[in-house]
Subunit: 215 residues, 2 copies
DNA sequence: ACAGAACCGTACCGTACGGTACGGATAGAG
DNA sequence: CTCTATCCGTACCGTACGGTACGGTTCTGT
């Protein structure tokens, strides 16, 4: 068969998932009906069921498909001066805010949260595992690099990362999930990222003289 | 009419809302059917529609009903020493974690988030306005009292509060909403509250000598 | 005691959706 | 050219739910 699938799904199937995501963003979970997706994507319901099993399989496929678009920090082991490390942190904070405030991200998180009550939250675990986990690991790698270069200090990397996350996101994610329009002030994200990193250094930063002492 | 309504709803109606909340906690939004609520509460669907208008009205009433059970810090204007202020902060942090991790709270937040896509997120705004807002105001009053007594310092009370919130909650709320079972480690909340307040003082605390200087 | 309102339980209606089946079109394999 | 597999479009089925109607019962105010 000549179908060249890049990520587990054929191009045709990915196109269908894209249309399904558009429906989800526009109208929430209830807008993602099998008939609606088939009509929007110009495919038959029969094909949907052959490709994704059932409606839940389709929803899971939408999450898996979207999760295959996350970039992350790669630790190259090279030394990094304080200015660059700080810039990396600010960039991470800004990226995080951008990702969390994205329409598709919000729609998928709403979907997974809405399903969390029943069926032991399959979609929630899928979303965390495929989306969030990779972001977390990239950020922790960044923190480890910062500690190795004596820019910051902490005992528990995971704990430090969660503190950074809290300082950056605060209650913004939930407010956006709840639909509070004022929360998505995209133009304020840069200042928010700066402030968060500033506070993070106040908690975990190593002063230059101390850095020399412990080096 | 002899019906003594305490909070906008008669006792009978509140009992019905309680049963509806149980259904919501047990099975999510889809479990809250008009027939199901009527059966569980031993009332007729006709009464449900007379009391709450339609299904959305019932959901809104559930939120309003639940929101009428929030205690908050009341600022009495009296001086407060540092130990007591710190204890108040830790108690607030612990209360916040307890509230957010409560089954009913999680279920209602999931409900409001699930509806946030369509109908301009009525329930979301209702939940924020009736539930969260009061918690926020109580906490900000507490912070103001702490600043008045020179225990902490900040420029923007709202900004300082959001920092505190982020340090306390981090990404815990969203993880719980997604159904991550490991997130609801109830027994760790005390330590988390302590740590968060510790960090908050590191950012906004006023040292005793500085306190004397500026007094 | 009586009238009227509120209420319960059940039955009923229309609709929308998940899932299946089928006929016809298309395209690649031999 | 023919056979076969995939696919589209539509029609179809069963169910579940939101909302309404109605008869019978209990409660309330006078």
């Amino acid at each position: 068969m000549g179908e060249h699938r890049e990520q587990g799904y054929t191009p045709r199937q990915r196109a269908v998932l894209e249309r399904a995501l558009e429906l989800l963003v526009a109208g929430g979970e209830k807008a993602v009906t099998t008939a609606g997706v088939a009509r929007a994507a110009n495919c038959s319901k029969e094909s949907l069921y052959r490709w994704f099993g059932d409606r839940d399989g389709l929803l899971a496929a939408m999450i898996a498909h979207q999760a295959s678009k996350v970039r992350t920090f790669a630790d190259d082991g090279e030394p990094m001066d304080r200015v660059h490390f700080r810039a990396h942190l600010v960039a991470f904070a800004r990226d995080l805010l951008d990702v969390l405030s994205g329409e598709v991200s919000l729609a998928l998180n709403r979907l997974a949260i809405g399903q969390a009550s029943r069926e032991e939250s399959r979609l929630g675990r899928l979303l965390v595992a495929q989306g969030r986990r990779r972001i977390d690991e990239g950020a922790i790698a960044l923190l480890e690099a910062g500690r190795r270069n004596r820019h910051i200090a902490y005992d528990d990397a995971d704990d430090a990362y969660r503190t950074l996350y809290g300082l950056v996101v605060r209650d913004l994610h939930v407010r956006m999930l709840l639909g509070e329009s004022g929360a998505r002030r995209h133009e304020k994200f840069a200042a928010m990222a700066e402030g968060a990193v500033e506070r993070f250094f106040a908690l975990h930063g190593v002063r230059e003289k101390e850095r020399a002492d412990t080096a």
